[in-house]
Assembly symmetry: C2
DNA sequence: ATATTCCCGTTGCAACCGCAACCGCTCTTT
DNA sequence: AAAGAGCGGTTGCGGTTGCAACGGGAATAT
């Protein structure tokens, strides 16, 4: 049994992730033009209100620098506004502009529809799937590496 | 319900994929130094023998150019050998060198062990999980986009 | 046989990623 | 209060990605 690449879980996860992301991108890309990092920043802002870069970095699995640059692009595009934090002047408060809120409103619907579609395709066991995915993430998150 | 990013399947798939890939990389990186594309090319060669670039491209979800460059690096490192195809001189035959075979031998063991470990962490339903993952992939593969 | 079309692999290029260095600000220590 | 350590965000840089264009080779049509 020489080892089969396409039965290898990491490989399949990667393939699934890129394909699904492409599908999703195809649904909103033309309307929004957002990249994946930009989309994540927007989505996080949409239900957190005022947030700093480091918060996003900690929450959505993106490097500081990526969040920083995504935010710069989004500000440039008029989707969010940066403002200084007054207690701690190192921090920067990010906040959606009305324009950004509108966009996310629309995008949220697209995302929800897509999510529903995926669930439908997965059938009744979609919930199980999500749970196990969660399992994988948390296991990997706290370095399950050297331990045995 | 403002839309929760971390219940969004594409997002979670992406996070899971990158984390798992990181875990796997940590296990073999130091020994092999292979990047993900390189690893895929090697793995495919390991159980296909002589293959052309386009075959790999079609099988392992990588752009032509990426396969081409990965192959160049691997040849440079002495893991594979390129040779011209004689029927069709457009094609290039890639083949593992003995050194490359040794590496894949070793790497296959690491991969199998990791796979086993993941299955253990997922518990008895790992099979179900794999099946549904497959489902997602095939659904996405043949453009499930515009079809309402 | 020649021209047109198509295919394979490589390369150019612009964008992006990840990491580390950096600068300014805050907190702690003394 | 001054110095040092620590934190937050940006920027520089090497390497990678993805796409489109290219050049050589094969296949088809006339």
């Amino acid at each position: 049994m020489p080892f089969m690449l396409d039965e290898f879980l990491p490989y399949r996860l990667n393939v699934a992730a890129t394909l699904i992301s492409r599908r999703f991108a195809a649904l909103h890309q033309e309307e929004t033009g957002l990249s994946i990092p930009e989309w994540r920043v927007m989505a996080h802002l949409a239900n957190e209100g005022q947030v700093s870069i480091r918060d996003i970095h900690a929450r959505v699995n993106l490097d500081k620098s990526i969040v920083s640059r995504a935010a710069a692009r989004l500000e440039q595009a008029g989707h969010l506004r940066k403002s200084g934090h007054m207690q701690d002047r190192r921090l920067i408060s990010l906040e959606l502009t009305p324009k950004g809120q509108d966009l996310m409103q629309r995008l949220g619907e697209i995302a929800d529809a897509f999510q529903a579609r995926l669930h439908a395709e997965l059938g009744p066991e979609a919930e199980r799937f999500e749970t196990m995915l969660e399992q994988l993430i948390t296991n990997a998150a706290r370095g399950n590496d050297t331990a045995a």
